[in-house]
């Protein structure tokens, strides 16, 4: 579970060969998934409270003893915790995510129904965040010292803004004041704008800050001086040369960003009443639906590790310093 820390300097130790590297990473993925499943399982079972009561009771309902016993038997809750855990792991190994009691359907089906919506939201937000970060960087490069300071300040603020607050402000402005965008998710492209923007703005601030730092280094590089000497404009230098350099660490961060988008989705999907994994996760936690929570956590962990793997691969492709020396 290591975060992909972007490195701009050369590594001292030569990177391992491609095959060994892949094997190591694959082992890491399996470990991450096992750890995620285990921690989630025990975390949810060790908090006080009776899952059987949660299965039967919502607010305002009272469960009879017969019903509770039936539920305990049906879901194996009468077994010792270790037995429940081993049973669960055994089922996982055969690829069975189990049955969600809060949804009355298999966990795999439940996740299948929700995954698309969250993936769409995460990808849209990621694209939007990149667009915002690049646009702001381009503007502040052109605008000189003051624009640079303003851009940097904006990024700092954006990166620190909490999602729920931002969502409320965006709803107030775009839905209630301007009336141009729906305050809750609706079918069609219009419905995704505000949720994606809510997730994208803090991320853009973060990406922008990372980019800005390497942008500074790149702008003082000899090739930029050469380009300036050729008479190229600052904007052209930005788009043609320095952006590429500045983007490398930010690309590496996109894997991490994807993970943070999924966690942000928990808040955003609830506020905008949008379908998705984040919202399912929230209700599953409240209902103590251990199988569903673990299932979602596993899928998110998998998506996150795959994304990290992809960015690492991209990193190896872009940056020759990270590649193994071929004999």
């Amino acid at each position: 579970m290591t975060l992909p820390v972007p490195t701009t300097g050369a590594r001292r130790r030569p990177a391992p060969g491609n095959r060994r590297w892949l094997l190591l990473r694959a082992g890491g993925v399996v470990f991450v998934l096992w750890a995620a499943a285990t921690i989630t399982f025990f975390a949810l079972r060790l908090v006080p409270g009776d899952p059987a009561q949660a299965i039967l009771g919502g607010p305002g309902s009272q469960a009879g003893p017969e019903a509770l016993e039936q539920v305990r038997r049906e879901y194996g809750l009468d077994q010792p915790l270790v037995v429940q855990y081993l049973t669960y792991l055994g089922r996982l190994l055969t690829g069975d995510l189990g049955q969600s009691y809060s949804l009355h359907e298999p966990v795999a089906t439940a996740i299948g129904e929700q995954f698309g919506a969250t993936l769409t939201l995460a990808l849209c937000s990621l694209a939007l965040a990149w667009a915002l970060a690049c646009a702001l960087a381009a503007w502040s490069v052109r605008g000189g010292r003051v624009a640079w300071a303003i851009g940097s300040g904006l990024e700092l603020v954006a990166a620190a803004v909490p999602h729920f607050w931002l969502a409320t402000v965006l709803i107030l402005f775009f839905s209630l004041t301007l009336g141009v965008l729906p305050p809750v998710s609706v079918p069609g492209p219009l419905g995704i704008v505000l949720p994606a923007l809510t997730l994208a703005i803090p991320l853009a601030g973060f990406l922008g800050q990372v980019m800005r730092e390497s942008l500074l280094t790149a702008m003082e590089s000899p090739f930029v001086t050469t380009a300036r000497a050729r008479g190229e404009s600052e904007v052209r230098i930005f788009w043609r040369h320095t952006l590429r350099h500045a983007a490398i660490p930010a690309v590496g961060l996109s894997g991490w960003a994807f993970g943070s988008l999924i966690s942000g989705a928990v808040v955003v999907e609830a506020v905008f009443a949008r379908q998705g994994l984040g919202r399912s996760l929230l209700s599953a936690v409240q209902l103590r639906d251990v199988t569903l929570v673990t299932g979602i956590v596993l899928v998110v962990a998998l998506a996150y590790t795959v994304m990290t793997l992809l960015t690492d691969l991209a990193d190896r492709a872009i940056d020759p310093r990270t590649r193994a020396v071929t004999q």
Binding site: V47, P48, G49, D50, P51, A52, Q53, A54, I55, L56, G57, G58, P59, G60, S61, Q62, A63, G64, P65, E66, A67, L68, E69, Q70, V71, Y101, S102, L103, H104, E105, A110, E113, Q114, A167, T168, I171, L172, S175, L176, G179, P182, P183, V184, V186, E269, A270, V271, F272, A273, R274, Q275, G276, R279, S280, S283, Q286, L287, R288
Partner: protein
Amino acid sequence: MPSRRFSRSRAAVVLAAAVVLLVTACSPGGGSTSEPTGEPVTGGTLTYASGDAEPSCLDPHVGGNYPQALIATQYLESLVSLDEDGEVIPWLATEWQESDDGMAWEFTLREDVTFTDGTPFDAEAVAANIAHVQDPATASSTGYLALAKVEDVVAVDDHTVRLELSAPDSALLESLSQVWVAMESPKALERSQDENCAAPVGTGPFVVDGWERQDSVTLVRNEDYTSPPADAEGTNLPYLDSIVWRFIPDSASRYAALQSGEVQVIDNAQPDTIQSAEPDEAIEELDAPRPGAANRIELNSSKAPFDDERVREAFIRSVNVDEGIEGLFFGTAERSYSPLSSVEPLGLSLPELFTVDTDAAASLLDEAGWAERDAEGYRVKDGERLTLDFPVSTNQSIPAEQSLFEQIQADAKTAGFEIKLHPLDLSSWYGALAENDYDLVSAPYTKVGPDVLRILYHSASIEPAPSGYFANLAQVDDPAVDDLLTRASTTSNPDDRESLYEQAQRVILEGYYILPLYDQQNHFLYSSTVQGLRAMPTVSTPTFAEAWLAS
């Protein structure tokens, strides 16, 4: 305004139309009358936004909570209903007769009703439904308790059914009016529980058409609808083509969606939202307090310090609930002095028991041995501080209520009580109750009729079920109360019933076991284009059977 008053005001409008016109012209809008204007319009789609958690099962037999009741009211119907005065009226059953010994009830059923899957509604269907609720595999909680005394169901003929009881049950009709024991197609009930949960089949005005999880349920018009309750108004019901039932958990988003017209009706409207909607001409309010128990704080009398009645009275006398409600609910909630909801005709109110008197409280505490105070000003006895644990369910107590508890905490501190508020999620909260780890607690209980008193205050309800759950959270253990409540639940004489319930409530209130707060809040806001919306006088869920959209 409660549903019943709501409808009574309808009559008032007719009688004094001119006056009302004048008044409405001069006063801000957003009142709670929705007088149908003009002829009902057929067609259109209404979007409803619920703030409750999405039900895990659309069949209210399974589990049985309020969010299920809200949506199931649109597609399921019961044997009987209630009118505005709380009188039982015909619905799927046209007549009923209690046997002389009270051990059996015979119901005559409507003959022209078919479930939306084509299965006829008959005596066998009633038997199948009661069996379904009573089957432990169904895991019914609310419906199961409602039918606790039903021992056997006999189909006398196709359209006559006899319910045989283990003991007389004066609450049977009220229990049967609840949507948690509504009638579903026996053929549909034979499907697997998962299938039935996704699309239960009833006789109601709408049919479950689809369920997009974490998003919405789509209900479409039942083209062959024939069976509105006896008090329904209008012909050719329902008017709407379809209802989109959405789940918008965030209170601010829900209200924003109503303001922008994305949705037409929202539930769980919070006090501040209702207040800010009041001047808005385009938004109306429906206030439908839930039946059963009023929201109240229960004082756990099973252990120190509240095993001493003087300490209970001292606590109740030292907290100013009225002020808190005024400040936090902006006039949307009215103070209650009764164990029962204000919509229960048999509720007994004793306001004089709940006046604030800090001097009396202080001397009561002195008498009870809590005379000393420690450095922080809390009362102590034998070196032990007067501490009260108060687990608060954040799922059940709205933010305003949680703030009210904080004010009560501050008031009690002045008197020398240390209240420890423990905000907990539902499962942990149940856990704390099961461990008897509380001195104060507030738990809602919705049920039609005063029989809720037996569930809440009969000593049998202290006995922790294997689950650890028990409903008598004040742990009232008084043979006199038990006797009154048992007799009230078995008598066939309405006057005896009324008097027995009154006596029982008097003992509970005078024993300072509970601190009533207000009715279980149930506020809806809706667009003024929605006409003919009303709350069922049974469990106060809104019904869209008679609703239509004005253009």
